[in-house]
């Protein structure tokens, strides 16, 4: 039993650190640190840099442009990236639809879609949730009816993150309305430029445009865009969800946020002294730091088990709950650090090109917004209550 990294792993960490130091654009890192809005161009710029290095899709098989990294190397890369202020990769293409195409797709589909994900030519979004299908995803109603070489798709998807930037969407659609809930569902790739698709923004409670509604009105989708077998789409969906959950603990992002919290608490004052010297506030930081330490150890245990060939099972559900609660606790403390100055709502100060005076400081305007925005963490990717249902059923067999 050994918790320290091996010399090879340490050398790899240094290589990643050096790469990030040289290549991560300072303006992007600064936006991430201050929780400012990232543009589509920001995301794409960072993606190109990673692609050029061959590190954009480390989890893919080498023949498709991936790496030979094991789970520990991937973990180190994620940690270091988050620590350096690299943006979290928009996962829908590289880490969600791609693994499904690699696992279930035809050779033609792999040849068509994977290179365009690597190059950044395609921006994918996810068409899962519907107004009537949230945690109960299998009750989705969007219909796809076979008509010759096409499916005709009608229905509505929602909570489509960054759908406003996307040119492709992967959808779960109902192809057999008679079948039991999960049976008649198929996994379909749809070009967003197809006539009949409308994207409408949803403003979130923090005033941000991050998610959308997507409407399908007699949308013609070629049959070759079906991934896997018709009516077997749930298999793809489940595979994808397991893939998604392992990354949802967000340890690296929480560590970066904790560092930012300490910087803020050193600048904000109470009773004439930095807030970080306030016993009560400081002990709350200490508490969340210790929880994060435990979650990080749990992640390492899962990662180490995975590198021995184990499959991350329902432990990742427990970790999703713990990790998201920690991140939310940190954003709560950041908001509290501002005192009454958590109240002013100043979206203009959240843009990086803002050149006016800051009401408090460059970090302050986003803190209350981020706190509210991060409430999503315990809702998406399978709500924390759904995760508990999974553990209850799969591990505890209750």
């Amino acid at each position: 039993m050994e918790i320290h990294f091996s010399p090879e792993q340490l050398a790899f960490r240094d290589e990643v650190r050096e790469f990030l130091k040289q290549e991560l654009p300072a303006d992007i890192a600064s936006k991430v640190r201050l929780a400012k809005h990232l543009s589509k161009e920001d995301h794409q710029r960072w993606q190109q840099i990673l692609s050029k290095k061959g590190w954009y899709a480390p989890g893919w098989p080498v023949e498709h442009g991936g790496t030979t990294w094991g789970p520990i190397e991937k973990h180190i890369f994620d940690e270091e990236s988050a620590a350096a202020g690299a943006p979290r990769l928009v996962p829908f293409g590289v880490n969600m639809v791609a693994p499904v195409i690699i696992k279930f797709g035809t050779e033609e589909q792999k040849a068509k879609y994977l290179p365009r994900i690597l190059s950044g030519e395609d921006w994918w979004c996810q068409g899962y949730s519907e107004p009537g299908a949230g945690s109960d995803l299998a009750s989705l109603k969007t219909r796809a009816v076979r008509d010759g070489d096409y499916y005709i798709v009608n229905g509505q998807k929602t909570w489509t993150t960054l759908g406003q930037h996307a040119n492709w969407i992967f959808c779960l659609v109902r192809t057999d309305p008679e079948a039991q809930q999960q049976r008649g569902i198929s996994f379909l790739l749809i070009d967003m430029a197809t006539p009949g698709i409308t994207v409408r923004p949803i403003l979130t409670l923090d005033g941000d445009h991050e998610v959308n509604e997507v409407f399908f009105d007699d949308v013609k989708v070629p049959v070759e865009n079906l991934v896997g077998e018709e009516n077997k789409g749930w298999t793809c969906a489940k595979y994808l969800l397991t893939h998604e959950r392992t990354g949802l603990a967000g340890i690296g992002a929480s560590k970066a946020a904790l560092r930012q919290l300490k910087r803020i608490a050193a600048k904000q004052h109470k009773n004439g002294r930095p807030l970080i010297e306030d016993t009560l506030f400081r002990s709350q930081i200490a508490e969340v730091e210790m929880s994060l330490m435990a979650a990080e150890m749990s992640t390492l245990r899962i990662v180490a088990a995975a590198s021995e060939g184990g499959v991350p099972g329902s432990e990742s559900s427990i970790l999703k709950v713990q990790g998201t609660e920690i991140r939310q606790a940190i954003t709560h403390l950041m908001r509290k650090a501002l005192g009454p100055y958590a109240m002013p709502f100043l979206p203009e100060e959240m843009e990086l090109d803002y050149d006016g005076d800051f009401l408090v400081d460059d970090y302050s305007a986003s803190l209350a917004s981020v706190y509210f925005n991060m409430r999503k963490l315990s809702i998406f990717g399978g709500s924390n209550e759904i995760q508990k249902n999974i553990v209850s059923k799969m591990i505890l067999e209750l």
Partner: protein, 377 residues
């Protein structure tokens, strides 16, 4: 980085597991607890015969220089049986202090016996006013001719009721809470001037209050310089307690899960109710956190002294105190009335888990300690 056990470690784990399973039924435990010693002398002897009390010590003493990981493996098994023997107190803590501070003659005289189990030692660090601050030492020692004479009161000395030797911290210089000026002495509990008030503890063990009136003690290490060793070794004790807590938590979670599947109300097993399912998941989630931190503590326990080691051991105890209390309270709640009875074994696991938080610092103590050293970067 890996979390696999070596073959030797697996064998050690199995040895401890088999011993606890075969000899420590709940009924037996209650008999041991009610006995004069407060634990099983036979079981203690078996721990010695199987070499388990020698594990952390050198080969000459019959051990194999086992580190925190080996300690954790043993302690987990002792925790899963809520065993009453003062293994941590004698082998880990007293053994560790003597190894760190004792001269060659003292090591030879005392460690051999601790390693075989023939000598059961106890350690007296707390006092009525110390409240987990091990630098708070009012007990004094003064030199009289060639002798050190110790006077004062030490509190809640677990295993002190049967110990062959007791290690006592006493002040030889400085003020009550100074880290400098604390010394460690070995005393014979039957020496003149020692009186003990023996009591049972909430978790079924036994301990004592130690009243010392000019008791002759043998100095361990240099006078006035014992605090660093006490702090370092209490870190090893914390790691051991973390392992024990994980063993006890796991068993208590298993008992509770089993109960949810068998107990019926409203015509169904109560585990069919989602509110209870989620509570059970929360317990398992706490167990998971605790396991991670016990592992971290075990890996660091025998590392060189450093601020990082101290901080992480502090964090481990904090997380485990909270987890242990959560599992204990929720286990009682999910069992309902039956867990309120003396005859139900789960209740005794719950008591031990809560009492672990009263050894070497509760969550407030460790939160404060962690916050004090908080790195600002």
């Amino acid at each position: 980085m890996d979390f696999k056990l070596t073959e030797e470690q697996q064998m050690l784990q199995e040895t401890a597991q088999r011993l606890v399973r075969d000899t420590y039924s709940f009924e037996k435990r209650q008999e041991f607890s009610a006995s004069d010693a407060g634990f099983s002398r036979e079981f203690w002897q078996q721990l010695g015969e199987l070499g388990l009390t020698a594990v952390p010590f050198s080969e000459e003493l019959g051990g194999f220089g086992g580190s925190g990981v080996e300690t954790m493996l043993i302690m987990e098994q002792l925790g899963s049986g809520i065993c009453l023997e003062p293994y941590m107190e004698s082998v880990i803590l007293a053994g560790g202090l003597i190894s760190q501070l004792g001269n060659a003659a003292q090591q030879e005289e005392l460690l051999g016996g601790i390693a075989t189990g023939e000598l059961q030692a106890a350690v007296a660090l707390e006092e009525p006013g110390s409240h987990y601050n091990l630098a708070h030492v009012e007990t004094t020692a003064r030199q009289n001719g060639g002798d050190w004479l110790i006077s004062g009161r030490k509190g809640v000395v677990i295993g002190g009721q049967t110990a062959g030797k007791i290690l006592v911290s006493a002040r030889t210089a400085g003020d009550v809470r100074d880290q400098q000026g604390i010394s460690l002495f070995v005393i014979d509990p039957n020496a003149a001037g020692v009186s003990r008030r023996v009591y049972a503890t909430m978790d079924g063990r036994k301990g004592c209050e130690l009243f010392l009136d000019n008791v002759k003690g043998e100095l361990l290490g240099n006078a006035g310089d014992a605090y660093d060793a006490i702090r370092y070794q209490s870190g090893r004790a914390i790691a051991a307690l973390c392992g024990e807590a994980v063993g006890a938590m796991r068993t208590l979670c298993d008992l509770t899960l089993d109960y949810l599947k068998t107990r019926k109300q409203f015509g169904v097993p109560i585990g069919k109710f989602q509110v209870l399912q989620h509570r059970m998941v929360d317990m398992v989630s706490e167990l998971e956190r605790a396991t991670s931190m016990a592992t971290l503590a075990a890996c660091l326990a025998d590392d060189e002294d450093s601020a990082e080691r101290t901080a992480k051991l502090t964090a481990a105890k904090f997380v485990i105190n909270k987890a242990g209390r959560y599992v204990a309270e929720q286990a009682i709640q999910l069992h309902g009335g039956i867990a309120m009875t003396w005859e139900y074994n789960g209740a005794h696991y719950a008591k031990r888990l809560v009492m672990i938080s009263h050894q070497f610092g509760d969550d407030d103590h460790h939160l404060e300690a962690y916050a004090d050293q908080l790195s600002l970067a």
